[in-house]
Every structure is written in C-alpha cells, then in structure tokens.
C-alpha cells in the first residue's frame, strides 16, 4: 500500500517519474470502471472509455492545477467521456426480454425465484438506462458511489439543490418504471 497522496504522485509524475502514474491508475481503476460501467451498461464500451479517461489524464495531467482534488477532476473527466460515448452511440439500449430468454433456452429451466430476480435486474437496468443523462449521472454518483451531495456538486458543478431535485426525479422514475414493468 502506497501512502503518498494523489498530489504527491502527480508531482512525481510531472517531474518525470512515470511509475507514479501507474500508482494513480491502480488506485482509481476500479472506482472509475464502475462509474463508467453504470453509465454504459456494456463492458466493452466501458473498457474503451476507462482507457480513454486514463490516457486523457496521462496527457493532460500537466494542466492539473490542484484547484480541485484529483478525485473530483478524474470523476469529471469520467462523466464527460461517458456522456460523449452515450451521445456518440445515440442508442437507447434496451435490455430486451429476448436477451434473457434466449440465454436460457438451452439451459435447464431456472428456479422461479432466480427468474424473478433476473427480471427485476433487467427492469432496473432498463430504468436507469432510460434516465435523462443529467439524472443518470447524479444517480450513479449518489446511489452507487455514495458520494455526498457537496462532492457531487464539485464534480458536476451543479448546485446541491439542483442535485437533490435530480436525484429525487431519478429515483422516482426508476420506481415508477419498475412498478409498471411488474404489472
């Protein structure tokens, strides 16, 4: 476990110690992967974006002034590049029933409880995927990353009041979607 702070590692990297960058990647790769993965529900796309994020960090870390924490800066890049990818694809992914049923056609029938759980997972993913992008990123940072609103406010540069409103709408929409989907 390396006890150097992010800022110390960044300074070392700026001064030519390439390995300091590796440590920053290792420190944040899982967190960033999961943030992106929740924005883009496909591993391959998420992988591309995660790599883009760290390549961008590698290239632009010289311009990082330390006004915000590295973590905030990194999350901001992650959110922006994820949104770029969503927009580029311009596809509303739907987790169609076919995906689930086809996958199990050749297998043994699933126990009822497991089928229900999978159906609920499908519904939830679909609900999150359908959220407007602003609500989606607030939801991901708040629910999955469990970040305080003040931290999210720094990352997204949005007022805490606005974030709370977005989070309320996001959770409500997910609930309504699940409720209607289960009828």
């Amino acid at each position: 476990m390396d006890h150097r702070t992010d800022l110390e590692l960044i300074e070392e990297f700026k001064n030519g110690n390439d390995k300091a960058f590796n440590l920053l990647v290792l420190r944040y790769q899982e967190k960033i992967y999961w943030v992106v993965r929740r924005m883009l529900p496909d591993h391959d796309e998420a992988d591309d974006v995660v790599q883009d994020i760290f390549v961008k960090v590698y290239r632009s870390i010289g311009s990082f002034k330390g006004d915000s924490s590295f973590y905030t800066w990194l999350y901001r890049i992650a959110m922006n590049l994820s949104l770029n990818e969503i927009r580029r694809k311009k596809t509303r992914r739907t987790f169609s029933l076919d995906d689930t049923t086809m996958q199990h056609e050749a297998d043994d029938p699933l126990p009822l409880e497991q089928m229900e759980r999978e159906e609920q997972t499908r519904l939830i993913k679909s609900a999150i995927d359908r959220l407007p992008e602003k609500q989606k990123k607030v939801f991901v940072l708040r629910y999955y990353e469990e970040l305080p609103y003040e931290e999210i406010s720094k990352i997204l540069k949005t007022s805490v009041g606005g974030l709370k409103a977005n989070y309320f709408h996001a959770v409500k929409k997910i609930g309504e979607y699940v409720k209607n989907g289960m009828r």
Partner: protein, 222 residues
C-alpha cells in the same frame, strides 16, 4: 409549490438520513398530500428493487490487464517516434518548439483568412469552413449526424440567431461548438454535460443551467 420543499426529504426518509424534525414535518405533509404519498411509494419500490440487483460480472483479469493497455495507448498517442530513438531530453526540447510551431501556423492561417479592411466579410464562415476542412470527413459526418437530431441545439440557437444567420450551414456552427466543448473537458465540462443532458430531455434543465450554454455559444467568435 409546497411539494417541492419535501422532495429531497422523501428521498432522505427512504435512505434513513432524515432528521427527526424533518421527519415530523414530512409526516404531516404526507397526511394531506396524495401526490407525495404516491411519490414516496415509487421511491420505496425503487430502493427495494435496487437492493436486489447484483453487479454485472467483470471479465477475469480485467483489472490486471487494464494498466498495460492504458500505458500502451498512452505511449501510442505520444507520437510515431519511440523514446529509444528520441531521448527524453530531446522530446522535452521538442515540446516547446512544437507548441511555437503550432501557434505560428495558427497565426498564419488567421492572417491568410482575415479579409482586408473594408472588405465585406463572409470570411468568418470561411474560417470556420477551413477549420472544418482540417477534420477528417468521417468525423464530420459522424458529428453532424448526431448534431442533426439535437433538440437542444435548436433551442439554444434561438437566442443566438444573429450568429446562426452568419452561417450558410448551421451544422458548421454545431461542429464548432462541439469542437469547443469536447476539446477540453476541464474548461467546458459543465457546459458539455448540460448540452448533452439537455439533448435528451430539455425539460429537465433548469434555467440556471441553460445560462452557461448560451454564454458558451456567445463566446464563440464567428
């Protein structure tokens, strides 16, 4: 609307982080408000369902292989010459020289494209088009295609009609905006996020958020 005040409390209550005083206030409101009662039921359903969702699987060894992949891509993007051929001190020297060269070429393009005094100017468009010419055709097609379906662009263009009128092809403005925004997430991340978020659901954008987008549009010198 009174319900607005209680929205975040509805979520706080479901997350178990509401203060006793707020909880009491909320209970009193819920007793008289059908809408908030319905909302809190939806929020409860959401949290219950979310608790049962398992994370997707990550391919084995993904995190082990991620760093080498990132390093490889970062090195690829550095340029065609590997460090073995160009030692670090040479690269260090080349960096400011390249920067000066880039600035010099930009100034040259600007001078070449700036019309002589008194010349009635359609030149801003020309400069923009020349900028566009620097971008690979495929990229332009891809960007303009995605921009074409952007409702927010149409909306944000309304107050910027003067700029739009100077262009023979508004999609070039779109491209320019896109380039401005995408080029530097550090400077423009907020506007980009709003821009993108607004694209899919304009009704979710507060007035306070539209401001920076319009401000961004107005900053673009055409």
């Amino acid at each position: 609307m009174e319900c607005d005040k209680f929205r975040s409390l509805l979520v706080d209550r479901q997350e178990g982080v509401i203060s006793p005083a707020d909880a009491e206030l909320l209970e009193r409101h819920l007793a008289t408000c059908a809408q908030c009662t319905e909302d809190i039921a939806s929020i409860g359903i959401a949290f219950d369902a979310l608790r049962n969702v398992e994370d997707d699987a990550v391919p084995t060894h993904y995190f082990t292989n991620l760093l080498p992949n990132i390093r490889r891509r970062a090195e690829e993007r550095r340029g065609p010459w590997p460090e073995i051929i160009l030692p670090a001190w040479v690269q260090k020297f080349l960096a400011p020289v390249s920067a000066v060269a880039v600035v010099a070429s930009m100034v040259s393009v600007y001078i070449l494209c700036t019309p002589p005094a008194g010349f009635p100017s359609l030149q801003p468009n020309l400069r923009l088009e020349q900028l566009v010419e620097q971008v690979p055709r495929d990229d332009i097609d891809q960007i303009t295609e995605s921009i074409a379906s952007s409702s927010v662009l149409a909306r944000t263009m309304e107050p910027s009609q003067r700029m739009v009128e100077t262009l023979s092809n508004p999609s070039l403005l779109s491209l320019h905006i896109e380039k401005e925004l995408v080029d530097d997430e550090l400077a423009h991340g907020h506007s980009l996020s709003i821009f993108l978020a607004a694209d899919n659901s304009f009704e979710d954008i507060a007035d306070e958020d539209v401001g920076p987008v319009i401000e961004q549009l107005n900053k673009i010198s055409l």
